[in-house]
Amino acid sequence: MQRIPRWADVVLVPIISLLLAAICAAGVILAIGQDPIEALNTMVVGALGSAYGWGYTLYYATSFIFTGLAVTVAYHAGLFNIGGEGQAQIGGLGVALVLLFIPWPHWTVALLAATLGAAAFGAIWAAIPGYLQAKRGSHIVITTIMFNYIAYSLIVWMLVDVLRPAGQAEPATARFPATYGLPTLTDIPVLSSIFTDQVPANVSLFVALAACFAVWLLLFRTPLGYEIRAFGKSESAARYAGINPTKIIVVTMMISGALAGMMSINNVMGESGRLLQNASEGAGFIGIAVALMGRNHPFGVVLAALLFGFLYQGGAEVGLWTQIPIDLRVVLQGLVILFTGALDHMVRMLLGLFFRRRAA
């Protein structure tokens, strides 16, 4: 394969991939007899054109940062964690239990407790496939997918038969005490001058950014991160270096599951204030695309999460204001994943040819 300059690899490749995805999407919109320019306009204005739009974009991005980081950490150990969805839902259960059954004096303490609860539940949920992989050789891709379905069923049972308050028709928990409500961007002093309307984006965003930095430190600055990356590159070499494979697989999956679970402070604690069915709304899967697009680097994940937040919010706006069905956002996500993930070597090869010709 041709080598291309690093800046082109980091900047040019994703941009070209996105443009290609956009062109294909325009084709799809044309094919259903709608106007792609209008759609793009609606998306951009709806997602980025106002503080209100940004409030939603950032809300979605917050969840995607957590799930993207979850996939990233596992990827570095050579593990493909597709179970972010289930881990996020079980994390939500952790949040609900911590907030419903233990009284907390203030939202800050409640947030800390809920974060730990979400992380612990997500970690345990991911530890089981990890242990099965390490000890029994059950492939993590298969088991984490299976654990997604188990998580759905478990949550439904908990909501219908265990946690649902008497007399409530909806399968959901009781509302968390109002004092635990997380401040949204509207409630934060300086930001309140920008975000004048009530938006769902809340302080979890800052927890997500902190998590990003923590994951970067973990992977690239700690001995454990060194072991995770070494194991991911070569299991046999890791053994030579005295690294315990079982420990690395289980610990990495627990960290990954904890991160996926932590997204629940954003949607369960922050936005809805109670645990609902299917609370994660597919964010666990989008995390895979986010990690892919973000090149499995914690900082890349932030940028990719913003992009997917934009697609999510913009897509919703398109569904609301145009004749184009909201399902278009699934198409868009699919195209972005196709071009940034699956076809990104194609773009790199073409760029390689371009740079070689220029050098010659």
């Binding site: 041709q2 430190l217 600055r221 700690t222 001995p223 060194y226 072991e227 990356r229 070494a230 590159k233 070569s234 046999s236 070499a237 053994r239 030579y240 270096a241 005295g242």
Partner: protein, 500 residues
């Protein structure tokens, strides 16, 4: 040179580039018919690329191939076979559960039915075996044959396809000295029958023993073609490396002191196969114990067990105490398989410098990467690693420089015992000299060294004591000063030494 008949092979100006790497540059070689021609060069000198061009795996960017005086295009290996070229690869291409006969006709069947081909092949094989002294039972199943015999099947395969020119790529790497001698007899027989042989190797001894002419390659170019009778190993080595090289290891007699490592009754079974059948071993301070043996006789397993990668039954003590973490116990290990065990190929030089010792570089919760980088730069300078770039990813270093980084890493920890497997595999001659010096220097500091190598030369010249392994056992111990290759070769081949 006077030539009447046209040469068997003539290469004119062959060039081949992979991206920006010029693998072959303007190669011109003439191989007269009925000679054995050696091609020698360090790893990465371009020998294999050149042979791949000749066998139709790669196409040259420019240049001509003349076979028997006629220009011949070789776009694929079928054309090479039609042109009378036969290739014996380093790693055999045989179907293990087929018989010799079935392997020989594989791909050269005459029709849809096997029986006529088989009976024709049986007759032909009998003739070839007799003519060239290639003694093989046509009905033996290949996986039951020794490596030396499997190689003969490969040669028979080529001859059955009417090869006039036989190319052998590093043919002795897997053979015992006796098997290698037998191979040389076969090759001489082929020459007498008018066949042409091209022998690719990095072993000077083989070139001197058997070839008529030798071409030396360095960095993709032919730097000289000489008559073997008119050259010497030092001259060839100098041509290969581009400077004077010390071929002998210079060392003083060993002064062994107290026992460092003691292993008793080591047994290891994997997949129902007993790889170690009760190995006892002691190594003392100030000595180099060489472990000789044909590849696959338990040396690798023994090294892995002592290095803590594999677990075996039996007891191992360091300085009289049992241990769980070999590194903590003072054992450093340069593994045989550098690229799959010794380093993480995608990590930088400095990251690899901590490999296995990364916990030592923790300062609080974080790793002290600055100290690590500085120490790496210093060690790279001391070990003459080129290029001197600690931030370069290790796969971009040559094999020799990778090995220097690994050796530096293991020696830096000041171990009591250094396990070192195939220290010079895939390492160029210049670096071999350097690594050998480091090993001897470590011994002179009073450290113990266990050396495992399939290169008998290396074992003979470095070791203070030689143990020979065969079939998962240590079958004998010799003093390098009083033993010889023949004696060791017999031990390696499993000839009992009770009588000796």
């Amino acid at each position: 040179m006077t030539q009447t008949a046209s040469p068997a092979i003539e290469l004119r100006g062959i060039s081949k580039a992979f991206g920006t790497v010029q693998a072959n540059k303007d190669i011109t070689i003439t191989v007269p018919k009925g000679t054995i021609h050696g091609i020698i060069g360090e790893n990465g000198a371009g020998k294999s690329t050149l042979m791949s061009i000749l066998y139709g795996f790669y196409r040259a960017d420019s240049g001509q191939i003349l076979i028997g005086g006629r220009e011949t295009a070789i776009p694929d290996s079928q054309s090479a076979i039609r042109a009378g070229i036969g290739m014996v690869f380093q790693h055999f291409k045989l179907v293990p559960n087929f018989t010799v006969l079935e392997n020989v006709i594989l791909g050269a069947e005459d029709g849809a039915l096997l029986r006529p081909s088989l009976s024709k092949a049986r007759k032909e094989l009998a003739r070839l075996s007799k003519e060239y002294g290639l003694d093989v039972n046509p009905d033996a199943v290949v996986e039951d044959l020794s490596v030396g015999h499997q190689q003969r099947v490969e040669i028979l395969k080529a001859l059955y396809r009417q090869a006039e020119i036989l190319i052998l790529d590093e043919p002795t790497g897997v053979l015992t000295p006796a098997e290698a001698d037998h191979l040389f007899r076969i090759l001489r027989g082929l020459r007498e029958q008018g066949k042409t042989v091209i022998l690719i190797t990095h072993k000077l001894r083989e070139i001197m023993a058997i070839t008529d002419n030798v071409s030396v390659m360095r960095r993709g170019e032919i730097v000289g073609t000489v008559k073997t009778a008119e050259t010497s190993p030092p001259q060839l080595a100098e041509l290969m490396v581009g400077r004077k090289v010390l071929l002998r290891v210079e060392k003083t007699p060993a002064r062994p002191r107290e026992v460092v490592l003691e292993a008793k009754g080591l047994r290891l079974t994997r997949g129902g196969v007993e790889l170690l059948k009760g190995v006892d071993l002691t190594i003392r301070r100030g000595e180099i114990l060489g472990l000789a043996g044909v590849a696959g006789n338990g040396q690798s397993e023994l090294l892995k067990v002592l290095g803590g990668i594999a677990r075996a039954e039996g007891t191992i003590t360091m300085n009289g105490r049992p241990f769980t973490d070999p590194r903590e116990a003072g054992i450093a290990h340069v593994p045989e398989d550098r690229q799959h065990l010794g380093v993480i190929m995608d990590f930088t030089a400095w990251e690899n410098m901590a490999f296995g010792y990364h916990r030592h570089f923790a300062k609080g919760a974080l790793m002290d990467n600055k100290t690590l980088r500085d120490e790496t730069a210093e060690a790279m300078k001391r070990f003459d690693v080129r290029p001197l770039l600690p931030d370069l990813v290790i796969k971009n270093f040559s094999g020799g420089n990778q090995q220097k980084i690994v050796v530096a890493r293991e020696i830096e920890r000041n171990p009591d015992l250094l396990l070192i497997g195939q220290p010079t595999r895939g390492v160029d001659i210049g670096a071999i000299e350097f690594i050998h010096k480091q090993i001897v220097a470590l011994r002179d500091q009073g450290k113990a060294i266990l050396l495992v190598s399939v290169e008998l030369d290396e074992i003979m010249s470095l070791s203070d004591r030689i143990a020979v392994m065969c079939g998962g056992r240590i079958v004998g111990e010799r003093d390098p000063a009083t033993t010889n290759e023949k004696e060791l070769g017999l031990l390696m081949a499993g000839v009992n030494d009770e009588a000796a």
